[in-house]
């Protein structure tokens, strides 16, 4: 009888090269996401090395980046329009990744991108500044789509209470907007930045430049599950109409196919390095790192535009035992920016830090009390991960308590 929630692997092991654990969830088809579903998690090899690290090896030595670059040029040429219209949709919020993607496509590969933004719940000051610089310093056209706040907040609240996944509605919307806008504007190409497969989703996804269409197959909207409830259930509460859900209902795969829409990842064509994206964004589009460290990690340039974002990572810590610092450190270890030893020290110091700065705002945003917050998060602490010692919750397994492993040289 498994003690682990969500069908997580019972035993907790940490990658020998980076600091990620085998509890790391892979991406979910978000609008089929129910509370009791079994989560797919990152694969680990017999040698104790995670799939993301293995993919890094491939990235570094087995992929012919010249030919990928060629393929990108061909793609650009294929979609280039003679009538001055947009030829690629670049979804993003003005963070380092979308800035890099749109700017390099426009200025190096000669494309004509339209950037589209599914609005963050609440822009931080630095996030808004970077968003504006993206447009005004980087030089891009942008459409900012902001969903109805009443519904969005309700869904976020429900997602928090039922799934401990407050970011779910945001992720749904963000994934839809690129292809949806492409279809509306008669643009056939949507280009995202990094491929989540790099971080441990199905490695086979890394070889296919297009996104899996299973994300875009909804037959009956009322069956869609948002915030852990079906839309039908929510409609039953008589607060919202089906019309209100328009931004969350994806266009069907068939419709997209008929419009010729394809979704690609720039990370397939160019060797992705988040820190280099940061440098590029600073040097070309007025991007600025935050002046202060983000709570829960050591980094100042990663994912800094949404005040609610902190709680996405914090809930990840509760559910899977790994927090923001783990994600940042794992990525930087793989890209050779820090050693594993340093990553472990950073995780130890920052991973479990509570995001105090925007806590009150978060509670107000989703209209719950602090008590409800605490009760909810405690419900989601998987017994294979957490122990209660006196009044405190402690992680049973941490990366810094593991015996030292061989250094990856």
């Amino acid at each position: 009888m498994s003690k682990a929630f969500f069908g997580l692997p019972e035993e907790v092991i940490f990658c020998k090269r980076c600091v990620i654990s085998n509890q790391r969830p892979s991406s979910t088809v978000e609008f089929k996401h129910k509370a009791d579903e079994k989560k797919a998690t990152i694969g680990f090899g017999e040698d104790g090395i995670c799939d993301a690290c293995k993919f890094q090896e491939i990235k570094e030595s087995q992929i012919d980046w010249n030919s990928r670059d060629e393929a990108l040029r061909e793609l650009a040429a294929k979609h280039k329009r003679k009538d001055g219209g947009y030829d690629v949709i670049v979804p993003g919020s003005g963070g380092k990744d979308s800035v890099f993607t749109s700017h390099i496509l426009k200025y190096k590969y000669g494309m004509n991108p339209l950037t589209v933004t599914w609005a963050p719940h609440k822009y931080t000051e630095i996030g808004w500044k970077n968003f504006e610089n993206w447009i005004h310093v980087g030089g891009h056209d942008n459409i900012l789509f902001t969903p109805n706040g009443i519904l969005h907040r309700y869904l976020t609240q429900q997602a928090f209470l039922n799934l401990l996944h407050p970011f779910q509605p945001f992720i749904v919307g963000q994934r839809i907007i690129g292809p949806a806008m492409a279809a509306k504007f008669g643009v056939k190409l949507v280009m995202y930045g990094e491929n989540q497969a790099e971080y441990g989703n199905n490695p086979d996804d890394n070889y296919i430049p297009t996104m899996d269409r299973k994300f875009f197959s909804v037959r009956d909207p009322e069956e869609m599950i948002l915030g852990g409830k079906s839309i039908g259930e929510i409609l039953g509460e008589k607060r919202f109409k089906l019309d209100d859900f328009a931004p969350y209902i994806p266009p069907s795969a068939d419709f997209l196919v008929s419009k010729g829409v394809e979704v690609h990842y720039l990370g397939y064509y160019l060797r992705w390095d988040p820190q280099e994206c940061y440098y590029y964004a600073v040097e070309n589009a007025g991007f600025q790192a935050n002046s202060e460290r983000t709570e829960g990690t050591y980094s100042k340039y990663s994912s800094i535009d949404d005040r609610i974002d902190m709680f996405h990572y914090y809930t990840t810590l509760i559910k899977f035992g790994i927090g923001r610092a783990t994600y940042d450190a794992a990525q930087e270890i793989r890209n050779g920016k820090i050693t594993r030893e340093e990553g472990v020290s950073l995780v130890k110091r920052y991973d479990q830090e509570f995001p105090m700065k925007y806590f009150k705002e978060f509670l107000e945003y989703i209209d719950i009390t602090e008590q409800q917050f605490t009760e909810t998060i405690d419900r989601f602490r998987s017994p294979n991960l957490w122990d209660k010692v006196g009044n405190e919750w402690r992680l049973k397994h941490t990366v810094w308590q593991q015996p030292s492993d061989t250094e990856w040289s």
């Binding site: 820190q275 940061y278 600073v282 020290s345």
Partner: protein, 256 residues
Amino acid sequence: MVMSRVRLIARLDIKGPNLIKGIHLEGLRVIGDPREFARLYYKQGIDEIVYMDVVASLYGRNSLHDIVRNTARDVFVPLTVGGGVRSVNDVRELLRSGADKVAINTAAIKNPELIREIAHVFGSQCLVLSIEAKRQGKGSWEAYADNGREKTGLDVIDWVRRGVTLGAGEIMITSVDQEGTCKGFDTELVRAVSDAASIPVIASGGMGKTEHLVDVIAHGHADAVSVASILHYKRTSVPEIRSAAIAAGIEMRNAP
């Protein structure tokens, strides 16, 4: 204040065995072997070299002894070492390894008496108070610790005055806002610090071209200028900076 000769200082941020460089003290890129860079700058006539261990606070120790020892073998200009210096003993170890001066930041903020202790045992001349400053609004800056990661609530100018009283020998003032951008120093910051301190002030953070150096000396009243990105990324060289500065009327040691 009378201007004496301005010193040109190369600053090398070090992590483990590597010279690294960031922007806004973030996104640290590996550049190469610090000793090679130090040797090159020495040969080119740099006035002084600063080594900062940027992960020292994380590990709770300064780990530069080997690099320092190695550098001091054949680099015969003053060497200042900082990062994770917490005690009189840490200072002793670094000086023994070949450092001439020691820079402290976080430890001094946590325990200002440390400045007095170090000055008493080794003399003020070996103690550089390193301050990382972030602009708060007009004419006001907050001191940051831990390589630009943690706020302290300390007003920079107040802290400067206190540091001088406690016995610091020099102040190295780094602008977190300008650092790594190559867009110029925070001259207003340097000026405020220099006016408040009767000890030499080293301006750090933002050097992109000679005009910046001239500006921070003429208007910021800096006694020394610390340069990093443009040297490490080889956008210019020590002799180029020196001759351009002298041509612009700055008093500097002639090329040796």
